[in-house]
């Protein structure tokens, strides 16, 4: 392992006055103007993607996003002013604006928020990756994507192949009025393959994605031929898939789907900003049973290499391992600075913003059920009639109602303890607590899948979710 410091030099010395000094002065300005708490966060995000379709390069592009967001808290009212103009005057102007707009609403807000007891921290952390993507030549990246695409063409029925490589290098500087001065870096890479197979009027697809807080070593660890072939074959297999059944079924949910159950329902409802406004169905549940003994769930922002790993959240709190459910009993919530202060607990490093122009919410990092005592083979052998899910397409949160909805890419019918026919995309739904209380088996096999998560309609952050295979009763619907 080596530390990578690719973006800090640029950030520290952007312009004539060192950036940390400019951020500090803007925070001081906010305090002078009457803010009770202020912070300033500079972000420099560099992204690069290569996208190949049907053996041809469709796009090779990079993106650079740079800006500062300054937050001010007055009473219980927040103001955020953000800008892509990074000179000292523009930042002071943004600080003034943040205070002015916070003050405007301060008298209308009945609650007072004090962050005075939060800890300050001075630290500088580079991304712990083995191979910085910036040190890898473009030819190697292109060659990987081309190989991934060619490998998908396993048969003439594969009519469309799509492959993508991406790298994201984020650098942050943060100063706050508690005295924190932080700089850190996050590096992520990903590879994505997607095949479409056709026969007559029927079209089906499959995909695979590998991602994480890793450098180019993540790509080096992938065999593009094996990954591509697998995706191509899966898309062909689905051409012969039968319609999924409808109704309440015994479901062996794979780590993708069990992860969505952890993330979408139990995770979003455990974000303390939903709890303090009593929008979460889990608000009164601490200490109560929410699932069978096999269910333990954590959010862990420190999980090495996982896509949601972060050294600090967007408020400068170090990430943490937070227990949400322990052996079926609900333990507690994830916090940012504000909700921790409001509930009199320590922040858990879950205050995250999509970027410098967006507000901080309480957000998940890597959220998963812990592994169980069974093997997948045992789970299938002990299922007389049911469905085995395979890969997820999407999920949707319902913190108020506790409803679960996830769409599986595909699945298999289980009959008399054996996996039989494949079935195409279908939806799983029901009350999350009803589902968790019916979990009677959980596997030793465990996986995390990366991706991004929105809160409501926007505010996307990098996360992962996962867990073991779990067996439960779930409503299945498709067509």
């Amino acid at each position: 392992m080596k530390l990578i410091w690719s973006g800090f030099a640029i950030l520290r010395y952007w312009g004539e006055i060192p950036m940390m000094e400019r951020l500090s002065k803007s925070v001081e300005k906010a305090l002078e103007m009457g803010a009770h708490f202020a912070d300033a966060r500079l972000e420099n995000r560099k992204l690069s993607t290569i996208f190949v379709v049907n053996d041809e390069l469709r796009s090779y592009q990079n993106m650079s996003v740079r800006g500062v967001g300054i937050r001010a808290l007055v009473g219980g009212s927040w103001g955020l002013s953000s800008t892509t103009q990074l000179d000292a005057d523009s930042l002071l102007e943004a600080a003034e604006m943040a205070v002015r707009i916070a003050k405007h609403n301060a008298q209308k807000v009945e609650k007072e928020v004090s962050l005075d007891s939060a800890r300050s921290l001075k630290k500088s952390l580079g991304a712990r990756v083995k191979k910085n993507p910036l040190d890898v030549d473009s030819e190697s990246k292109l060659s990987f994507v081309m190989d991934l695409t060619k490998a998908q063409k396993v048969d003439d029925r594969v009519v469309n192949t799509n492959s993508r490589y991406g790298e994201r290098i984020y650098n942050f500087l943060l100063v706050n009025s508690l005295g924190s001065e932080l700089e850190w870096e996050e590096i992520r890479t990903f590879a994505f393959a997607h095949s479409v197979a056709a026969e007559g009027d029927k079209r089906e697809f499959s995909y695979d994605i590998k991602d994480g807080t890793k450098g180019f070593e993540l790509i080096d660890e992938i065999d593009p031929n094996a990954m591509g072939e697998k995706v191509g074959n899966e898309s062909i297999e689905l051409l012969g898939a039968k319609r999924p059944p409808n109704g309440m079924m015994t479901v062996v949910a794979d780590p993708d789907i069990s992860g969505l159950l952890a993330h979408e329902v139990m995770g979003h409802a455990s974000e303390a900003d939903e709890v303090v406004k009593e929008r979460s169905f889990l608000t009164p549940m601490v200490g109560k049973r929410v699932g069978s003994d096999l269910i333990s769930m954590v959010d862990d922002g420190t999980y090495p290499g996982a896509n949601g790993m972060i050294p600090f959240d967007s408020e400068g709190t170090p990430s943490a391992h937070t227990s949400i459910i322990e052996k079926g009993v609900y333990r507690g919530y994830m916090h940012n600075l504000e909700t921790a202060a409001e509930m009199g607990v320590e922040p858990t490093g879950n205050g995250r913003a999509e970027d410098f122009s967006r507000r901080v919410w309480v957000r998940m990092t890597n959220t998963y059920f812990e592994k169980g005592p069974d093997s997948l083979d045992e789970m299938i052998a002990e299922t007389k009639e049911g469905i085995l899910t395979s890969k997820a397409m999407r999920g949707m949160e319902d913190p108020v109602g506790g409803g679960f909805e996830a769409v599986a890419l595909k699945g298999y019918i289980i009959k008399n303890g054996e996996v039989t026919d494949p079935i195409p995309s279908f939806t799983l739904a029901g009350s999350a607590l009803d589902i968790l209380n019916t979990v009677d088996m959980a596997s030793k096999e465990f996986e995390l899948s990366g991706g991004t998560c929105g809160k409501g309609d926007e505010d996307w952050v990098n996360v992962s979710s996962g867990g073991p295979y779990i067996r439960a009763k779930i409503v299945v619907g498709g067509a």
Binding site: N62, S77, L80, E110, G403
Partner: protein, 463 residues
């Protein structure tokens, strides 16, 4: 703010000196104000000012793209340098011919720029947000745990080396609110999203009333058990999202060219009910995706997609139009709910405003004409399989209709069916057109649909 026309000019001029074959530059500036409600009170306000640029270059048939935040002109030139570097590294794109040529822009569109939006402060927006809150909380025990309004005014300029220079100024208003009511150990939630190009396009009081009544209905909802097959009325905004995720994909020229579309050979085929007509209308007055030009600078033109149930055409951005030798005009990057990030990527093929002309029945009339039926006002996420049209969607606001009246509200159930098949089984078309946006508000493409009654769906519950 930075002079976008001047920035584009400098990029084109430098690109010519560098010897590139073709260059296209899209620069954009916006001001954004947001007001957030929590616990029925003001909580958070944001004021944001940004500029950005996306530069695409071709060296022969080698194409590269780069984008950057725009603090000063040097950022634009750095983006050009990066795009040239990428193009030099790239293999040939055999299909690339040119960027769009200069064409006369004849269409005009009303109601896409509201001067009162740039004049509004975040405090003004908070006042509007509190109208929603007051209207919702007029119902006893109703709360508004969260809500937000964002108003943006933006300008973009597009130039390319054919001499094309076009631009557009617009405004976007986006809001999203949720209400909650609790009683007897149960809780009900009402959610509503709205988009408009004008402040007057949103009735804030009625948004409050809507989230309030939805929360009350959900509170009363009972877990649905078993299966129920009956005609289903799908509400306007939900149908719009279902169409964008399925029909929007199938008619994309990019997906047709890449053989991903399920309708590759279906032009001229009778696909749907005779009563169904679908247009792509970038000139729709006040349309969220409306402008006289698309985001490549090509003139925006109304197109008939489906006429009397027959598929008439696909839609194309310039790149895919050249491959298919069709008309372009559907190259977009502007998100429906926000202009942010529009410079991050090159324009791609998308619908503008997908429209179904209104029918002659009000929603109440459609309900009254059903002996047995299902009404879905809100799904968790109205997404449909883009290849098959199949779906199984969790209902969040739904009811069972019996003898022309709503009998009961239900929850924890899936509506399953096949939208492509059901578009051929349209029973009634409503007269209540409303907007439905895409899954992500940063994506282009909106739909303006009425509520429609279909045959062929099934409600599936627990047990």
């Amino acid at each position: 703010m930075i002079d976008l026309g001047s920035v584009n000019g400098r990029v084109i001029s430098k690109a010519n000196k560098e010897g590139v074959s073709a260059v296209e530059t899209f620069s954009v500036s916006w001001r954004s104000k947001s007001a957030y409600i929590e616990d029925s009170m003001p909580n958070f306000v944001i004021e944001d000012k940004q500029s950005g640029i996306g530069v695409k270059v071709a060296i022969g048939k080698k194409v590269g793209f780069s984008s950057s935040s725009l603090e000063k002109e040097e950022d634009a030139l750095a983006a050009l340098d990066a795009a040239i570097k990428i193009a030099r590294l790239s293999p040939d794109d055999a299909h690339f011919e040119s960027f769009p040529p200069i064409k006369e822009v004849t269409g005009s569109v009303d109601g896409v720029y509201d001067g009162s939006i740039p004049e509004s402060s975040s405090a003004d927006l908070m006042d509007k947000a509190m109208i929603v809150v007051e209207s919702a909380t007029a119902t006893k025990d109703m709360e508004v745990p969260k809500g937000m309004i964002r108003a943006q005014d933006y300008e973009f300029k597009i130039s390319n080396s054919t001499g094309l220079e076009n631009g557009h100024k617009g405004t976007i208003l986006f809001l999203s609110f949720s209400s909650k009511i609790a009683a007897g150990g149960n809780s009900g939630e009402g959610i509503e999203k709205a988009y408009s190009t004008e402040l007057k396009g949103i009735d804030f009081e009625s948004i409050g009333e809507k989230i309030s009544s939805r929360a009350v209905n959900t509170l009363d909802a009972i877990p649905f058990k078993g299966k129920f097959e009956a005609p289903a009325i799908i509400a306007n905004s939900e149908l719009g999202q279902m169409l964008l995720s399925s029909l929007g994909y199938a008619i994309s020229g990019e997906n047709v060219n890449k053989k991903r579309s399920p309708w590759i050979d279906k032009i001229g085929s009778k696909m749907f009910s005779e009563t169904l007509n679908i247009m792509d209308d970038p000139l729709l007055p006040g349309g969220i995706q409306s402008a006289p030009i698309d985001d490549e600078g090509s003139p925006a033109v109304r197109k008939t997609i489906v006429e009397k149930g027959v598929l008439k055409r696909f839609i194309y951005d310039h790149y895919n139009a050249q491959i298919a030798q069709q008309e372009g005009g559907n190259g977009f990057r502007r998100g429906v709910g926000t202009i942010e990030k529009s410079h991050f990527i090159p324009a791609s093929c998308s619908v503008s405003n997908l429209t179904i002309p209104p029918g002659d029945k009000g929603l109440d009339e459609m309900i009254s004409e059903l002996d047995k039926g299902i009404l879905v006002e809100k799904f968790a996420a109205p997404e449909v399989n883009q290849f098959s049209g199949a779906f199984g969607l969790e209902v969040r606001n739904a009811s069972i209709i019996e003898k022309g009246e709503i009998k009961e509200y239900v929850k924890f159930a899936l509506l399953s069916g096949n939208l492509f098949e059901s578009l051929g089984k349209v029973l009634m078309i409503g007269n209540d057109n409303a907007i439905g946006g895409p899954w992500m508000i940063t994506s282009p493409g909106a739909a303006y649909c009425p509520s429609v009654t279909f045959e062929g769906f099934q409600l599936v519950g627990q047990e």
